[in-house]
Structures are given as C-alpha cells and as structure tokens.
Symmetry: C2
Subunit: 390 residues, 2 copies
C-alpha cells in the first residue's frame, strides 16, 4: 500500500530534504554525561577543547564575600574538562560553569532553576535529609497557577496553589498555609527552588503532615506575576522592586485570604490558618500576622528580615510591641523562628528574640548551621509542616 512506509522510514528519508524542521536528534550519538552522580560523589564534565579555563561555580563551594565559590576543572586529551566533587551532603544544589569568564549552564543537564536574573543547573544528592525533595511514588497533589482579583492593586495577580492528593474528590474542609517567598522570588520560588510540592506530597504520604492547602503568593505587589508571566512581558528580573516595604503586601493580604476561602473548601478558624515565609517573606509573615489580629494560629519565620526600613511610614509597621501583645493574648498555637548561625540576619533575629522574651511571647526557635540559603529554607519547611494543624 502506497502509504505503508513506516514513519521511521519517513523520518530517515527526509534527511535529504530537511529544511525548517524542529531539530530532531535521531543520531543516537554518544554524549557526555554531566553531572554523573554516584552516591554523594558527582563528576561534572564539559567539552570545550578551545577554552583556556573552565571553572565550576557551585553553591556548596565556600563563598568569597557575596561571590559564589569556584573551583577549576581539568582538561583531558579529548578536550573534555572534568572535576569530581566528593562527599556532598544530601541536598539539592545549584551550579554552572565559567568558560574563559563566560557563564555557561551545563549543556548536558536540562534541569535549570532561576533565582532573580541568574539561571543555574540543579544537581540532586539523595539521602535521608533530601529524600523529601525528590518525586516519590506517592499520591501527588495538584499544583495550579491561578489569578485572584486584587482591588487594592487594580489588577488580577497570580498565585500558586497546592491542593493535596484527593482534595478534589473529598468533602473534607482543609486548613491553609500561606507560604511567602524572599526578596528575590515570586509565586514560583517555593515550587522551583523550595521543592514545596514534593515536600508536601511526601510528608503527607508519610502521615507526618496533615493534608493542607498551600497558597504561594507574589510578594512584589507591583508585579502581577513572575517574570515573563504578566503583561510586562519578557523583562530582565531585578531583586529589589520599589514596593518591598511600602506595606502593600500586608495591607492587601486579606484579598488573598478571602479569595482562598471563597474558592477552596477550607476551614476558616484561626487554628486552621498558618502563614510562613523566608527572608522578606518572614518579614511579611511577621507583620501580616501582627496586623491581622486573631487570624493565624501558626506563624513561621524562616531567616526573617525582622525590621522595616527607617523611612517606612505605614501604620502597618508601627506599634509592633502592642500588636505582638495582642497576638500573644489571642493564644496562637505556634510561633516558629528558624535561622542559620552564619546568616547575615542572625544578629537582627537575636535582637527580635530578645524583644519577644521581654514580653513573654512564646516561640519555638531553631538555630541551624549555614546561612541565608535555600538549603536551610527547605529544611525549615520540612520541619515546620509537621507542626501545623495538630
């Protein structure tokens, strides 16, 4: 029959006439493996015969001030540069290469993550500490990108909503965690760098965390959505937007609660609401929970920025002591603070704790190794979730 050529044959025949096709690699050519992970050891490789220098830039290497750490790769006779890193503790790491000074993502590793304006490769080291960061064979929740109307900001704004496995078919009302990102993030950060959906799926499957809805907001109120996802188009992201401390996030946060509670099957008691955030998101969680009296039964401050700027004028930032006293009198269930010993905000958090101690404000405090890092924030989330909604 005329058309009984196989599609494979059609593919092969077409090589002679190919033009304007998506690149379809049928060559099966042997490619470099990078990263090659063996237990806690990883080998990185890059083919660059003409390069004079290839460095690995990686977040497990000691930083030099604010500059990321680097280490040189060695070139072999085939023009392939290589380096092995051994005994990496279980975690999800980021890296890239510097080839003669040019930043190069590993062309053999398609797993990339963006942090502000920097795109890096991911490499995962399995182990007890990182096991909840990987996708396991457990029931998976649904992750939705959704838009809520913000009257305050006069636009629809994007949120990420995690609903646990079985939510859609159940009739049970669920508690809600509002989970906030840092100054470099957006409504995608807890999913991409934070591995929140994997951590939630795994903790819930293990029976360690209660099934809950998690609403991940965008704390840069002048952005309707993450870079590239709003009508602003494909602009280059910057870390600081002008709105970071203008109290819009705190002022209009109720819109997000109202949207969640009128669009999802949720419990609406104080002790079924939690709010937590990292860095700037810790700042937001602190001031939102203090300004919304008797709204949140659980508060989590992960490496929090705790002070407003001196020129902040909003009432949101005023009379914090009195607001904290009200919060105390409302008998919250948990006020949780985590910070790394090397965090640049360590001293500020210590001062804030002293203030809390002075007013007998109860809190749980976790001091970890390390600094102001996603490595810590994933651990904090993994440790915080089992404490909620008990």
């Amino acid at each position: 029959m005329k058309i009984l050529k196989t599609i494979t044959a059609a593919f092969l025949l077409s090589f002679t006439v190919a033009n304007a096709q998506e690149s379809l690699d049928f060559s099966g050519k042997k490619e470099l493996v990078s990263p090659e992970v063996n237990g806690s050891n990883v080998t990185f490789r890059l083919k660059a015969p003409d390069a004079k220098s290839v460095k690995l830039v990686a977040n497990w290497l000691p930083q030099k001030g604010w500059e990321p750490g680097t280490v040189d790769l060695q070139k072999n006779e085939n023009g392939v540069w290589e380096i092995s890193q051994t005994n990496l503790p279980p975690d999800l790491y980021t890296y890239s290469f510097l080839v003669d000074g040019v930043k190069v993502d590993d062309p053999n590793n398609v797993y990339l993550v963006r942090d502000i304006a920097n795109v890096m490769n991911l490499v995962y080291i399995d182990g007890a500490k990182s096991g909840n960061y990987k996708v396991q064979n457990v029931p998976h929740g649904t992750v939705a990108k959704r838009w809520y109307p913000s009257k305050g900001m006069k636009t629809d704004r994007r949120i990420t909503v995690y609903t646990p496995a079985g939510y859609e078919k159940s009739k049970e009302k669920l508690p809600v965690l509002y989970l906030l990102h840092g100054v470099g993030g957006d409504e995608e950060a807890w999913m991409t760098l934070g591995r929140a959906s994997q951590i939630l799926d795994n903790l819930i499957a293990q029976g360690k965390a209660k099934p809950m809805i998690v609403v991940m907001t965008n704390g840069h109120m002048s952005n309707a959505a993450a870079p590239g996802e709003s009508a602003k188009g494909f602009y280059k992201p910057v870390m600081m937007t002008p709105d970071v401390f203008n109290a819009d996030m705190e002022t209009y946060f109720k819109e997000i609660i109202d949207f969640t509670e009128s669009n999802y099957r949720v419990r609406k008691e104080v002790n079924s609401r939690a709010i937590a955030g990292l860095s700037m998101g810790g700042f937001h969680s602190l001031y939102i929970s203090a300004n919304y009296p008797n709204t949140f039964g659980y508060v989590g401050l992960f490496s929090p920025a705790v002070m407003p700027p001196q020129n902040a004028q909003s009432d949101i930032y005023k009379n914090l002591d009195q607001k904290l006293k009200n919060q105390l009198n409302n008998h919250y269930k948990l006020y949780w603070i985590g910070i790394g010993k090397d965090d640049f905000l360590y001293k500020n958090v210590a001062d804030f704790k002293q203030k809390l101690d002075g007013m007998n404000f109860k809190y749980q405090y976790v001091e970890s190794a390390g600094g102001h890092t996603w490595s810590n924030w994933r651990v904090y989330l993994n440790d915080f979730l089992p404490l909620l909604f008990k």
Copy 2:
C-alpha cells in the same frame, strides 16, 4: 531603638561577614542588554573577551540539513560580541550561542525553554501574528498540573489542565479539547513552546474561541510525567521512548476522558469533545478518534505523522479505512489538517488526504509555509480553536 537599623543597612553591613548566603546582587552594576528588541529588529550580545568565535544559533536562520542555522557575531573593543537581526516576522523564537564550539545560553536572558534535551533562550517579536502568544491584560485561566490514575499503566500520570477564567465560580458545563504533543514533548510542551494558555486566554477574551477546558496529556506512556517530574528523577530526556507506537496511548486514552469527565464540570456530548495534536500527537489524534467511535466531534491533525510503523501489531492500527468510514457515518463536525509546504511529512499527509478523498471523507485542509515547527503549530492552534464547539 536597638533594632531600628533598617534592613537595608543590615544588608550592607553584612557584606563584611557574608558567607553561605544566597547570592543577592546589590551591586546595581550596569549589565549588557541581550536580547535588545526594537520592533522587528533584535541585537544579541555576549561578553566573551577571550573567545575566538561566537555564533548565534537560531531557529529563524536557514537550517543545514537537520543542523540549526548559525551566524557569526562580531567582537568589539570591550570584548563584547554582537549581532543584529532585522525584519524578523512576529513570532516567538529560540536561540542560543556557540562560544568556541561550546553551547551557551544567553546569560542576560532568563527566558529559556526545553525541547527534548536542548535548552534554548526565547525571544519574542510582537505583531499581529504573534500577539496572542504574549500575556495580555485579559482574564487568565487556571493552569493546573494534576495526576490521574492509570490502571492500564499501573501508575498515576501527570496532565496539564487549562480551565478558562471564571470556570471555578460558574455553573456552566464546558466543552473539552484534548491537546497532544509531539515525539519530543510531554504534558508541558503545549504550555512552554506552544503558548497554549496565552492563546486560549486571548482568543476567549476576544470572543473568538468558546470558553473550554483543555487537557494536555503525556503521550510517552512509559513516562508518568515530564522529565524531572516523576519518580524517575533527573534523567537526561531522549526523543524516542520505546512506547511510541505500541498503542498504549490510544488503548488507555479513555482513562483520561473518564478522569476529565468525572473531575471537571464538562459537557459530555460528542460535539463537546475535541482532540488535536502535533506530529506524533497528530498520529495519536488520528488513531484515537478513529478507534473511539462517535466520541469526538472535532479532530485536529497538526503536521501529523499519519502512518504506524510496519511492525506495529496492535489492532488499534488495523482496518483504518473501515474505522474512518464509521467516523464519517457518525457525522463529526470538523476534521482539520494543517501542514507546512516544507514539512518532511508533507508527502505522507498528501497520501493520507488522497485516501480521505477516495472515501468522500470531509476535512478542512490548511497548507502553510514552513515546515515541522512550533512556529506553525502555534498558528494552527490559534486558527483551530475558533472553529471548535460552534
């Protein structure tokens, strides 16, 4: 007050002690702009003072066989390589650099997309033809990553589900389009390379397409989800999985319809169901619609692969003529075929059309310029959606 240092001051002070912090760039240093888009002209720049050669690899440049087209950048006195491309027709394009033979994504452009094992930068040229590919100030639908149970594959599998703006609060039942990817894709491809959610949001807002639910499946049945999103972990994707023509997709497609119709508020008449796909997804759409008698009122084949391999044994691929006759007798509303003049599958589609003509099987046929490309598939989707559910 002791803690009344501003957070900005804390950030600045911390420079002296910084270690183990996420990289936070407060330097405000002037960075290169790349790509710089001015109307239909784009300038690409890369700082690489030590490089001997920098090439632009881009999908608008003429291909050499299956190899993508390239053009040389020119180096200026500051070690910055630069090239301008003029009069690019409105579209969403992909590109990367080759620096002394090493594939380098543009470090000044955070917008990246993966196609199989290749990650490329995006650059968008605005215009009438591409306007629906950008996020506009219109109501936005919800995009959810969700898992359905597959008894056939003995695992949960991931789908992407688009529900139009207002779906959650409405009581109206909506029609459903099942939208299938090609051999290099997965359940994310129509969203990332295909800009399906933007096209849907915009066409619906313009009143040109009916509000509908769109279910985007993963046609590689041995993969539970896109690379990195299943328990297979962070493996390197390959184009061909062994399951491409083993009929699992067609055999178990009913599970996806059943899941959709029992989990979403949808119309269940034949003329409220559509199926469409590109390349391998066109093949799937052809055989699914032919094997599910009287299920789909609308069928779209975008640059379809139309023939099974000669060694395909499943009954799914047998007696196609008789199945098409049944389909014809069931009075479908639309059978739509689109292909580019330069597509390597052009001849196969011409043969298939001849078969359809021979049995008076009605179809709409669109022959476009170009080949087997996302540029065409976005246009086909944009043209096909307004024809549905009328």
